[in-house]
Each structure stands twice: as C-alpha cells, then as structure tokens.
C-alpha cells in the first residue's frame, strides 16, 4: 500500500478530477458560457444607462457567479458515484475528509477560479473602474471557494436524487448569502471611496471557517447518502 501524505493524497485527487474534467471539456466551458450570458442579460433587461449599470455591476457578477457555481455542483460526486469509485473512496483507509477536500479544490479550479479570472472582462461591460475590478477579482477568489465548499455539502446530500441541480441550488443558495453580501459589498465599498479591507477580511474568515469544517461535514453527508 502506498503511503500518502496529506498533500500527496490531495494532489492525487485533484489531478485525477482535473484530468477527467479535461476529457469532458464542454462541462467546464458551459459553466463559463452560462456565467457570461447571465451577466450580459442584465443590461438587456434593465437598460444601458451607465450609472445604473455601474452600481449594479458587482451584484450582478456575484449572483451570476453563484448560479454558475451551483449549476456545476452535481458533477462533483455524480460521476464517481455512478461508476462505483465513490464507494471505493469511502472504503479506503485514507481520510474521506481529505478526499472530499481534494474534490472541492478541483471543483473550484474548474468553476470558481475561471469565473474570477473572466470577471474583469465582464466588469468592463458595466464600466467598472480599474480599482473596482481588482477588488472584484480578489473578492471572487476569496468567495468562490466557499461556494464550492458549501456546495459540496449540498451535492453530497442530494447524491443520486432526481431534481439534481435545482434541488442543490435550493438548499445551498440561502447558505451562500453572506458570501454574496460581503463579496458584492467589497466592490461597493471601493466605489464609495472606502476601503474594502473589512469585507475582504470577512470573506477570508468565511473561507478559513469553511475550510476547517466543510470537508468533514460533506464527508458525513456522503456517508449518509451512501449507506
């Protein structure tokens, strides 16, 4: 039996998930396209007035990021569940929490991270200032991992159920509202001439809190769903 350190195990899981995802690139791309489309819909709905768009921008981008992350959640465990790999993972002597953390990390790298990196381009559609764009990216980088982490709990609880993505969203979205508030709030603070530090610090705190607890809780959720 190969002895794996914590990081060795994480690296293994992440690399595997990334490899599998790269073979089905469309899944990742559809999430991104959805994100871009939703953001673009808002000006079409509310009109092109620049002042209003600038005010709405961070909120719109954040809501779209939330929705796009939710959409890709079922994929976190469903493929492995379908072919029996998940069962093997649960029987393995390695800690299930670490395995789950690896899956969360991979999920974030395939959804949250790309979203955070594309966001500046979308922000330009809303005529956001350079400073605001910076803060937006930073906030998204801090907040989207939390979305993946809380989402993992939802995905684990709804494993194998019909209703898939919608049910997970229903369960997870209310729990993500604090991230939304402080994430969008960070940009608004900067727009209002204040510092975004407190917002970003809170986002960081959420991330650390979630990092400590969610892998364990999601692992328990998996055990509940699989027994």
């Amino acid at each position: 039996m190969i002895k794996l350190s914590l990081f060795g195990l994480l690296g293994l899981v992440v690399r595997r998930d990334l490899l599998l995802a790269m073979r089905r690139r469309t899944d990742v791309l559809t999430t991104l396209v959805f994100f871009v489309m939703v953001v673009s819909l808002f000006p079409l709905g509310v009109g092109p007035e620049p002042d209003m768009l600038r005010k709405m921008a961070s909120g719109v981008v954040w809501v779209a990021a939330l929705l796009a992350s939710m959409l890709s959640l079922p994929r976190m465990f469903s493929a492995d569940h379908a072919d029996g790999t998940l069962e093997q993972m649960m029987l393995a002597p390695q800690s299930l929490s670490v395995l789950v953390l690896g899956k969360i990390l991979a999920h974030w790298m395939l959804s949250g991270l790309p979203l955070a990196l594309i966001a500046p381009v979308l922000g330009l559609q809303f005529d956001m200032s350079a400073q605001a764009l910076w803060i937006l990216v930073l906030a998204l980088l801090l907040g989207t991992p939390v979305l993946s982490m809380i989402g993992a709990i939802g995905a684990a609880l709804t494993l194998g159920l019909r209703g898939g993505g919608v049910l997970v969203s229903l369960l997870v979205l209310p729990l993500c509202i604090p991230v939304l508030i402080f994430g969008a709030g960070a940009v608004e603070a900067v727009n209002g001439g204040m510092s975004a530090v407190s917002n970003l610090a809170l986002l960081g705190a959420f991330m650390l809190f979630a990092l400590v607890f969610t892998p364990f809780v999601a692992a328990q959720a998996l055990r509940i769903s699989m027994e």
Binding site: L167, L175, I177, I181
Partner: protein, 245 residues
C-alpha cells in the same frame, strides 16, 4: 410511582400519549389567543405615531420569534435523531417543519402589511424581514430534501445534517443581512414614538405563549399521522381502535 419516561420514546407508546395531550395544548392556546388579542385591541392605547396600524405587531412579533425558535427545536430533534438514531426524534423534526415555515410566512405577510402604511412599500428590506425570508427558504429546503429522498432513514439523516448546517448559518446570515441593511440605510421596523406601553408588552407575550401552545398541539397531531404512515406495516398499528373500526 416511577414513570418510565423512556417507554415514550417508542413511537407506539408516544402515539397514545400525544393523542391525549393535544386538547391540553389546543384549548389553552385558543383561550390565550383571545385574551391576548383582547388586551392588544381594547386595553392597549393607540400609538402616537403609527395609529392603529401598529396593532399588527401582536401577531407579527410572536410569529417571527416562533419561526426562529421552531427552527432551532426542529434542528435539535433532527440532530438527536441523527446522533442517537432515535426514530421518534426525526419524526418530531418532520412534524415541526411545516408549522415553522407557515409562521415564517405569517411573519413576512404581516411584516409587509405593516410596512406598507408605515413606509409606503409592500416590501421593506429591513434586516429582520430579510433574514425571515431566508429562514423561510431554509425551511423549504429542509422540507424539499426530506420529500425528495425515498429511503426514510436517509431522508431523516440528510435533512438533519442540513438543519444543523442551517442552524450554524442563521446567526451568520442575520449578522450579514444586518450589516448589509445598515450600509444601504434601509428602514428599520421599530416601535417609534412612545415607548412600549405595558399593555402592549402583555398582549404580545400572551399571544406568543398562545402561538407556542398552538405549535405544540399541531406538532403532536401531525406526528401522530407521521407515526402511522411510517409504522403502517407493524402489528400495533393494525390493532389500533381507529383502524379496526
């Protein structure tokens, strides 16, 4: 005479007990409700600023308080069911959920009807009302998750985990919304003008207790049906008087 309380943790024995207890909660609830509203409408004076519209608080505030209280109790029962594997605990959680959701709805509805004459809008993004809306979503999520899972044990445990995560989140959500509300200078629904007259406090408290008794009565009644549904294949259920008749 030592009562073996633990025998009531079995659904079969609790079924009978619950049935006997219901009237002891339902009737006092109705009476206290009437008394509380009487005091609220006929003893409490008209408010200087809000005139007669403020009288909505006698149902709005108890409903809000209870919706949050019920969520915690529901999560508590669900957690007991998850940790100790006691079926009855999970059944109680399932029984409480719809009532809690309805109280959240009443809180939102009455809050809107209070907000309209006071602040001119049907919906005011007040920190408490917004948190109440999110609480309603949490309730609906709990109910939806339980309804979507066929296997009863898995449904109970999954919903329990969700309720526990929700409970941890509720203070975080409330704090976040409060901060968001002050930043955007939203309205705060408060009793302005005169400080709370004694009769107002009395009325609110009495209605609160009345609603609490109502919740217990309804939960006991609902859990009886849940017990029957889940235990339908057992002998004791089929020997019940109401099934034999």
């Amino acid at each position: 005479m030592a009562i073996n309380w633990f025998k009531y943790s079995a659904p079969s024995t609790f079924y009978g007990l619950a049935g006997k207890l219901i009237p002891f909660f339902a009737w006092p609830a109705a009476i206290l409700f009437a008394i509380g509203l009487y005091i609220g409408f006929f003893v409490a004076p008209t408010d200087a600023v809000q005139s007669e519209a403020y009288r909505i608080i006698f149902i709005h505030v108890p409903a809000s308080i209870l919706s949050m209280f019920i969520y915690l109790i529901m999560a508590g029962y669900a957690a007991l069911g998850l940790i100790f594997n006691t079926r009855l605990s999970s059944m109680m959680a399932q029984a409480l959920a719809p009532t809690g959701a309805l109280f959240a709805f009443i809180s939102l509805w009455t809050g809107a009807l209070w907000g309209k004459p006071m602040w001119g809008a049907w919906w005011v993004w007040d920190a408490r009302l917004t948190s109440e809306l999110i609480l309603l979503f949490l309730y609906l999520g709990f109910i939806a998750l339980q309804a979507s899972i066929e296997d009863t044990r898995r449904a109970d445990k999954a919903a329990a985990l969700l309720a526990i995560v929700g409970s941890v989140n509720v203070p975080i959500i409330y704090f976040s919304v409060k901060w968001w509300n002050t930043l955007h200078q939203g309205a705060t629904i408060k009793m302005t003008g005169t400080s709370m007259h004694v009769a107002m406090q009395q009325a609110m408290f009495i209605v609160l207790v009345a609603c609490w008794l109502y919740v217990i009565a309804v939960a006991l009644a609902r859990v009886r049906s849940i017990i029957l549904e889940r235990e339908r294949n057992t002998q004791w259920v089929n020997e019940l008087k109401e099934v034999r008749s």
